[in-house]
């Protein structure tokens, strides 16, 4: 009787030693994930942080963004360096093309840039659904402050 129990225990031990987790499928998944991540890997990182409160338009342009003065036109506000310069509603309803807050801010920015050899350039991040009048007024205010080179930030089409 004792012999039988010992035999059964040994059999169970033998079975346990044979049963191993199946790692092939896990390795397959990890390898696929690794390939996908290597494809989307960018060693340069992002030079520009996109505001979370806006949806950028799609563009076929392949030109990589560079560092420059940035104006963000989110769903409700016009911002620069995290500072609120105007509200979108006011920009739309205003009769004047010139916005004094944007102009003053860009003038201060221009003074900082003029100390360096940097060409005054503005990158505009704008929500894709905004009417063009908002962008027009921002561009006008920036151009009055001496910024004549403009770029629009967009998401590259696949």
């Amino acid at each position: 009787m004792v012999f039988k129990v010992n035999g059964l225990a040994r059999k169970q031990e033998a079975l346990q030693s044979i049963v191993k987790p199946q790692m092939t499928s896990l390795i397959d998944i990890l390898t696929l994930l690794l390939v996908f991540l290597i494809q989307s890997y960018n060693a340069e990182g992002n030079l520009i942080t996109v505001s979370s409160d806006l949806q950028l338009p799609l563009s076929a342009s392949k030109e990589a963004p560079r560092t420059a003065a940035m104006v963000e036109i989110t769903r409700d506000q016009v911002l620069a360096d995290g500072r609120v310069l105007a509200s979108v509603a006011d920009m739309v309803s205003s009769d004047s093309l010139l916005n004094n807050n944007i102009y003053d801010y860009m003038m201060a920015k221009k003074k900082l840039i003029s100390d360096t050899a940097q060409i005054p350039e503005v990158i505009i991040q704008c929500d894709k659904e905004h009417p063009f009048v908002v962008v027009k007024k921002v561009m006008f205010s920036c151009s009055k402050a001496g910024f004549s080179n403009f770029s629009i930030l967009a998401v590259q089409k696949e």
Partner: protein, 165 residues
Amino acid sequence: MKTLTALSGRNAPSDAMEDEVDLNISPIMNVLIMLIPFLTSLAVYAHLSILELSLPPNVGSGTLSGSGKPKLKMTLVLHPEYIAVTYGEKMLDSLPKLGPQYDYTSLSDRLKVRREEMENKEEAVVAVRDEISFKYVVDVLDVCRGAGFSKTAVAGAAATLEAGK
């Protein structure tokens, strides 16, 4: 028959050995598990790009010809109902909207044809009405680039302009 028996007899221990050989995949698993969070943190899922613009001739500098007058450029007027292609005061084409979208395919074809007739093959101006959504402006700028105009300017279109109707 003897040979077969001998061979099978000889192979039997090595078969057993092969069954017992087990690859140690722990190091490769460790490497993968370390690599995946690292690559995930550096992965870029949406690639950003920029579209360069210049100011219209009456605002920007460097767009004037030697005589001091602005150079004549092809102008695309973006209206809520159509896109008009003009050159100076001459209306070249008018492409009505197809449902909610503009007809970008026809616009691209027309621009390629018109560009060949133009003296200034590099520059184009996109004149946009105030109420047009920004995404359509970017789409039209893309079409201009695709048609071969490397320098594009954006301007506001006068609300009174009724060309194309």
